[in-house]
């Protein structure tokens, strides 16, 4: 093959791309479209104005990264609720096992992926921060 043809072919591809829609996303001015099944930041589902979580400890049990801390409490009706629910996002590997294990559909994963922060302790999401925003 003569040495010129590959260069022409290459230039052709480059030229073609000049007229195509660019792949690069101009983040943060442009936002990606997050798929429905994307596994981002967790959210605790709310029902009847309180978290659905019953503190069954299945998510910390199944969590391979051991990033979930739950402490159960007993409310005035002697029912179980999560007095503490924390996820350490520095450890989380976003596998989604916690969602799969949950017997009461209390946790889901949102499309939220912008988790950068300035301090280590800010990566530990407490129950307040995890409760779904309505």
């Amino acid at each position: 093959m003569n040495p010129i043809t590959p260069i022409i072919n290459g230039m052709a591809i480059t030229l073609k791309h000049l007229f195509m829609k660019p792949v690069t996303l101009q983040y943060p001015t442009e936002r990606p479209k997050v798929a429905a099944r994307f596994r981002g930041l967790h959210a605790l589902n709310v029902s009847h104005n309180k978290a659905k979580c019953v503190a069954c400890y299945l998510c910390p049990t199944v969590c391979p990264a051991k990033c979930i801390t739950v402490e159960a409490g007993e409310d005035a009706n002697h029912d179980k609720f999560a007095a503490t629910y924390e996820i350490d996002m520095l450890r989380c590997i976003f596998c989604g096992y916690c969602v799969e294990a949950c017997p009461v559909d209390a946790i889901r994963m949102t499309g939220e992926f912008e988790l950068a922060n300035y301090r280590r302790e800010d990566f530990v999401y407490s129950k307040d921060r995890l409760l779904e925003k309505k």
Binding site: A55, Y57, D79, K80, P103
Partner: protein
Amino acid sequence: MVNLTIDDKQVTAPKTATIYEAAKMNGVNIPILCHDKKLKPFGACRMCLVEVEQMKGRQIPACTTPVTEGMIIRTATPDIVKARKMVLELLLLNHPLDCPVCDKAGDCDLQNLTYEYKVDSNRFSDEKFHHEIDYNNPLIERDMNRCVLCGKCARICDEIVSYGALTFIDRGIETKIGCEFDEALNCEFCGSCISVCPVGSLLARPFKFKARFWSLTKEKSVCGYCGTGCGLTLGVKDNKILTTIYDENQGFHKGQLCVRGRFGYQFINSTKRLMKPLIKKNGVLTESTWDEALGLVAGRLKDAGSVAALATPRLTNEEFVLFKKLLDENVGTKNYDHAAGYAHSALTEGFVRSFGTSASSASILDIQKSDLLLVIKTDTYETHPVVGFEINMAVKNKGVKLNILSDKRGKLSKLPDAVTLVHRPGSEVALLNSIAKTILDEKLSNDAVASVPGFAELVSALSAFSAEAVADQCGLTAAAIKKLASDYASAEKTLIIFPTGQAYTGHNADLASAVANLAILTGKYGKEGCGVLCLSEKNNSQGAVDMGFYAQNGGLNGMQVLDACTNGTVKTLFIAGENPLTTYPNRSKVKAALDSVEFLVVSELFLSETAAMADVVLPVCSFAEKEGTFTSADRRVQYFKPAIRKNVQIKTDYEVFSDLIARLGGNAPASGSAVFKEISEGVPGYQGMSHVALKKDSAFASVVITPAFVIPQATSAIPVEQGKLALVIGSALYHNGTLSQYGEGPMHVCPEGYIEMSHSDASANKIANNDLVTVSSATGSLQLKAKISTRIPAGVVFAPYHFSDSPVNTIWSGSPVTFVTLAKR
């Protein structure tokens, strides 16, 4: 033995076994919900159905069918599996299926079987139950919606605990487990029902929602309260003890525990624990370093002539040896003792004189093998509840006769055919002497008895103790005493049980000799099911005696040490874990002694009242944070390892003693096992034991008995002071020493001191239940809550001694009987 076939496997089993037991013995697991190996077969759950070739056509419950020769059993045919699935479906029909919030999940028999048999749907439908959940007591939650009606709780409460709090009530689909008149549970809270419940119907409230079962590490240990020596399985998570776990294979008691063993563990992780050494500076205890504190203590200990030590019988054997070494060799004092110096006298004086050994001649295992039990004081149940369970089982299952000599009635008196002779307080020894005298008079004694040393002297000394002469002093009839004597002498195997402790000053060397005389007279010792069992109070009381940690060779005993502190001969007092200010008789005397001693060192878990008076307080470890051996009341030596890591800022008593030995220029043994090697070489009965062997299984230290008759000095009749009541001190069921005050469980059910009295005395003084009563004696006065009960005879009042907030030793000066007056506030 019979031969049978289980699942095509040729096996043998004892004639008395059921199919279930035979299968289990041979490694075939039959699923079951209603069986516990301590309980009688019941056949409630229908999970254990099997097919038997010889009984074709129907399915046979394995747990209630005894094995027969040649039986051919199949445990898992398709028909059987189908039947079991059906049983599970029917059980799950009404079960709430709230596993995510049920604390039993992970340890639940029903959950495990449902998983094993893959029952994931239900062909039937029905409404769930809507029973009210019983939250009325702080320890046991009863949720009858989850109940599968296996009946284990009702049966263990009846067969072993013998309380009978729970039973089946109502009929048909409405059947449930309930208390009398369907009211709230109010029992002795031993929690046995929780331990056997196969589902989440009965749960321990102190552990509720604390952790899931699968996240707990199970650590085997030995209970740190009384001298019974029960094994404990502690549930540990994140270096915290969260609960106790039932293990039906643990110990002689098969996992059975009392209220303090099961619910009294919270003191280990208490936030009140001392974490730093304290040194008194300008009259105030201030935090310091170990180096400074131990340096100060070592400096004071160099002045040998004026040092004395008191230790709690909760230290390990190794610590006792090391402490003794420190005092004997490095300090050079003989003034050391434990348990106030008198609580061990039944062993160290009484049994030494009568049996030639400072140990009991029987073990707890003998209780169920005996024919007749003679229990001195119904308090045996309160001081050693698990021994009480053994007595219950002996009486109810084995038909053992029970005779009780006591100054009050108690739970043991309620057992079937139990004979309780309620005598006047303080007349035990005279009563026992009169029984001995009756045995001699009626020629019921053993033939070989004349050759035992001291026989002739005993015969003449007992001449004044005829039943008729003593009956009046004891408040009994001569006929009752004679009946008891002949029952005791004529039964083939008899066992005498009596508790000792700091509250039981009457249970001294004389009482020990008096009961030993009975056993020797009738030859009932040194055989299975026979002998005398002295139940020492704390978990290592017997060990303290075996290690020789008591006043010997002219050393001052516990009470003499306090006197010496007051008069200035003892200038430095080292108290390892004792709390004399609450538990030793005569509080003002103890306080004066602790005030006047120049330098007081206390090593403690908590800042007790005694520790608060100290010049140096050393924070030390509980049993769960150290390793060592404990010797139970019947000389079972048990090894235990740390269940949790200790806080780095605190030391074990072992480390404290070895550090002090080093500071005083001595050589401390390298490790606890090295110390135990010395014990196995030097202490009689411990030969051949080692930590390595004890880690596998506990061992009994052997006892060699050389009988001799000793004349027990009976106190002459105590004159009843007119218008006054006889106060007897003792143990409450929920407590042991003062340590249980830091266990939340015991404090939930018995939070404060009380004075128990009869209805007649209460009405004579116009006192109602829970009234605050001022109790006055010659020593002082104290306010206590009144508790009116039927078990106390007229003229007698009872008060437990455990409470720092209502110290009974302000009105009690150490005599077995104190005369008091009551005045309603």
